[in-house]
Subunit: 335 residues, 2 copies
DNA sequence: CTGAAAGCGCTTACAG
DNA sequence: CTGAAAGCGCTTACAG
């Protein structure tokens, strides 16, 4: 499959009878006083006639910049990440950047090669939802002086720009809200991540419980990200169907919330009559439920846009490390 | 922001004291008998010591191939497209390809520039979920002899490889199934697309109705893709809340199904007690519903994989146009 | 105002 | 077995 040779600067130059340099200047609008106006016009016309399109690969090699952003999320097919990817692509393209993407599945063994691939492909910058133990990989990027913005998670030890949710406040507020409405036995279902973000969500719940002297009612279930359906089933069984089951359950992510709702459906648990569920993110799902559940809302739009904005600044030469913490919103439908 | 200069072939060559040619051969495993085994070993060691990574941009320019696939979907944040994007990225990376992506929003004005951008960035091939009136843009790609595979939709007039659902059969079977269970007044909610794929879905419904002498009961609502919530609300109101409302409604896409379910929730329509709903795709949502609805299942995994497989063949020089029609599956939960 | 030329980092005939 | 060199298409000092 031989690609038809496209028209190059040389072709345009030959047609007009000038050097490639002049054509390049005109194409890039860098004529200044370098090209005689009439000539510039002729060149512009030839460019149009021949439908000349600059070869971005050649430009990239010459300029050392690819106008490409590498995006790594856990899984684009998960709407949480899909929405982020969507917003990031939109924003990036407004600034002339193209997005290459990859899915980590929360797995460093998939994460790592993605970084290498993107690095070799010379992406200008990264927007990354990092996985556990990603520090070494991230340092590699920093060492190469490639701008990078972390999204959704960060690492206390590394000084990188990031856009995060105020995770502590998210669950702290949600738990308090439950407590105020009279719920006492409140459980939490979380992922067993070493990620700070998950720790904060757990801590928010625990602190709220402690603050109201409900320490003894703290009940935390931590599921592995790659848990099998069987394992999840068993764990939820243990938590939700025991004789003294909780009055309310707080989920620490949209995926977990969906698992919970699915479990409830299968086992004829009526939400919220039998038990209150508090979801995390995922309003796009929850609004459609028979009886809509309450949930913590993340401002995905703002988060994605902010991440791109920070990256573009970095790309434009800023040396500033920006750390942005976004406010969660509790969508309350209790009672 | 100056990128630290990475180690190049030249650096390795200098370190070992050979020409860059030899290093290139060794790195690419094209030594054959060209390089003395002992020397090759020394070079390999130096490559490792210096942590040499080939510059893909330079390679691309030289080789005329970027190992990149351009993917265009309507909207990655829609799980239907998100799943496809996910699968395509996974498969592509198995073959050493990276995926750049863009969202069309079913809009030719967003679709068009994406094609141009990807073309200028010299993607090796395209996997595209085309929008209405995309024929001209697609011809442009064909003219440049860039391999391309259409997904989910195609155009009768253009001879391009594609992977589609058997759309006619999908709705024909679903409608028949409803009829067999005694439903007579069956409506359909579709998008007002000129796309063949939507026509086929509508035709499947209409033919099934005709076949059972229910022609007079045919009731088709066609919504614009960019209809406002208000417009959708009004239209669904007209269809679902009129005094002689349909006994069952068949939706022509997952988005439409979600709109329907949302409307039903807001208006206290009990599904399936008040009215049966047949969804299209989107099992990942529907399984979570209070009372799971029936739906047409598309084999997304196979569709995505097949599309990549066909594209890779094309990329490897095959001249064969492959047209694959996948079978839908009706997930029946009626009664 | 204009052109000739170097060089981005690589691969690959070509000559030895 | 090995090296010198051309060339992918572009941008940009440099010299005129």
């Amino acid at each position: 499959m031989t690609t038809q040779r496209k028209v190059s600067l040389k072709d345009v130059a030959k047609k007009v009878g000038v050097s490639v340099a002049l054509v390049s200047y005109v194409v890039n609008g860098k004529e200044g006083s370098r090209v005689k106006p009439e000539l510039a016009e002729v060149i512009r016309q030839a460019v149009k006639d021949l439908n000349y399109q600059p070869d971005q690969v050649a430009r990239s090699l010459r300029l050392g910049t690819t106008k490409t952003i590498g995006l790594i999320v856990a899984d684009v097919s998960n709407p949480f990440f899909g929405k982020l990817a969507r917003i990031i692509q939109d924003e990036a393209s407004r600034f002339g950047y193209t997005v290459v993407f990859g899915n980590s599945d929360e797995n460093i063994d998939k994460f790592s090669p993605l970084i290498d691939t993107f690095l070799n492909r010379k992406v200008d910058g990264f927007i990354i939802v990092p996985v556990e133990n990603a520090e070494v990989e991230l340092s590699k990027i920093i060492r190469e002086k490639i701008p990078i913005v972390l999204l959704d998670r960060s690492f206390p030890g590394i000084n990188i720009s990031h856009v995060l949710l105020d995770n502590f406040r998210a669950t702290f507020d949600a738990t308090n809200c439950l407590i105020e409405k009279g719920y006492k036995s409140i459980a939490m279902v979380a992922f067993k991540y070493s990620l700070n973000m998950m720790h904060e969500r757990i801590r928010g719940y625990q602190e709220a419980m402690k603050k109201s002297d409900l320490t003894n009612n703290i009940s935390l279930l931590e599921l592995k990200y790659d848990a099998t359906s069987k394992e999840i089933e068993n764990s939820l069984n243990g938590l939700l169907l025991k004789n003294k089951r909780p009055e309310a359950v707080l989920f620490a992510s949209s995926t977990l919330t969906l698992e919970g709702l699915s479990f409830a459906n299968r086992n004829n648990l009526k939400i919220p009559d039998d038990m209150a569920f508090i979801g995390f993110d995922g309003g796009y799902f929850f609004d459609l439920f028979h009886s809509p559940i309450s949930y913590v809302h993340q401002p995905l739009e703002e988060m994605g846009k902010e991440a791109v904005k920070i990256l573009i600044d970095l790309l434009n030469g800023s040396e500033k490390i920006s750390k942005v913490i976004m406010n969660p919103k509790f969508i309350d439908r209790l009672l």
